[in-house]
């Protein structure tokens, strides 16, 4: 490969240490998935604790899960799946170069994420007023099941809390992406940030896909 012609054909988004945009894209996707593997195991520790304590305190977990509002959980599941759809459509729009579509779908994703977190605030407030937050003020209607129920709610707040932190961080990444998209930074030749953020957002959706049946539907 001649140096001069390679430089002449150089896309501005292509870093000098990659041969082609496709190779650069594949390296980024591989890197993002490596991060997501660590995320799977990060959340995996919580799921491991949940499985073990559910086995040890089955009756408590059953009773405590009835304190959650299934309909709010169902609503939020639908909202989050909806935000995954808008994100997938955003990735598609970035590849086809439809700028206004891309901005619209990214804003939709941000709004749906905000709705999810808003519902979560309502749910958390309800748990505080019902004395279901683990700690000295924890109360449970069945004294025999209280210890296990407190462990259940520790896991509830730990798992949904870590999930919510991921969504909040996602929102902070999404805002600059929307600004960049509106300025036309992304197109068929270079859409890596949109693609990688999409992977992250879908991962957060997958975590919720497992949290919903495990915490709400027992």
């Amino acid at each position: 490969m001649s140096h001069t012609t390679a430089d002449a054909a150089h896309h501005p988004a292509l870093q000098h240490h990659f041969d082609t945009l496709e190779q650069q894209q594949n390296a980024s996707t591989f890197g993002m998935w490596t991060f997501l593997v660590t995320e799977v195991l990060f959340f995996g520790g919580f799921f491991m604790a949940y499985i073990l304590y559910r086995w040890m305190y089955n009756a408590s977990f059953h009773e405590a899960s009835h304190e959650l509002n299934v309909w709010l959980g169902l609503f939020n599941t639908a909202v989050l799946i909806g935000s995954s759809l808008t994100m997938a459509l955003a990735v598609r729009a970035s590849k086809t170069g439809e700028r206004s579509q891309l901005v619209m779908f990214l804003i939709s994703t941000l709004v749906l994420g905000g709705v999810f977190l808003g519902v979560k605030v309502v749910e958390y407030a309800e748990k505080f007023s019902h004395h279901l937050v683990p700690g000295p003020h924890f109360q449970f209607h069945d004294a025999a099941l209280k210890n296990g129920a407190e462990i259940y709610f520790s896991l509830y707040f730990g798992m949904t809390g870590l999930h919510a932190v991921h969504m909040i961080l996602g929102g902070f990444v999404l805002v600059p992406l929307i600004v960049m998209a509106a300025r036309g930074k992304f197109g068929p030749a270079w859409y890596t940030p949109i693609e990688l953020f999409g992977l992250y957002w879908h991962f957060v959706d997958i975590v919720w896909i497992f949290l919903f049946p495990l915490l709400y539907l027992m």
């Binding site: 945009l21 496709e22 894209q25 594949n26 996707t29 591989f30 998935w33 490596t34 997501l36 593997v37 660590t38 995320e39 799977v40 195991l41 995996g44 520790g45 799921f47 491991m48 499985i51 073990l52 086995w55 299934v70 169902l74 599941t77 639908a78 799946i81 909806g82 995954s84 759809l85 994100m87 997938a88 459509l89 990735v91 598609r92 590849k95 086809t96 068929p188 999409g198 992977l199 879908h202 991962f203 959706d205 997958i206 896909i209 497992f210 919903f212 049946p213 495990l214 539907l217 027992m218």
Partner: protein, 98 residues
């Protein structure tokens, strides 16, 4: 260059995810005894696979990405399997001090 998902495919996956969500809620209302959990997990795994393969485009990604994605769940499985075989078998032998 890269795979561009048809819009119809994305909408179909979205519809399937919504239907499966409603299905898992309805099934949880029926008492299947010890089968409630495996059924709920089977539905969740199906939903996760739809998201991973289509929304995250792993189905259309290079083999390296597919193996990497699978490895995360492999190690998660090892963690859960080995921890639970320990806890579940601690009383089996009836040895003092286990």
């Amino acid at each position: 260059m890269s795979h561009i998902a048809p819009k119809s495919q994305l909408y179909t996956v979205f519809a399937a995810l919504m239907v499966l969500t409603v299905v898992t809620v309805l099934i949880s209302r029926v008492d299947l005894g010890s089968f409630n959990l495996p059924v709920a997990m089977a539905v969740a795994v199906t939903k996760a696979l739809l998201v991973i393969l289509i929304f995250m485009e792993v189905k259309y990604s290079p083999r390296l990405v597919q193996v990497t994605a699978a490895s995360g769940f492999l190690f998660l499985g090892i963690m859960i399997l080995y921890t639970m075989t320990d806890y579940l078998s601690r009383n089996v032998l009836g040895v003092a001090g286990r």
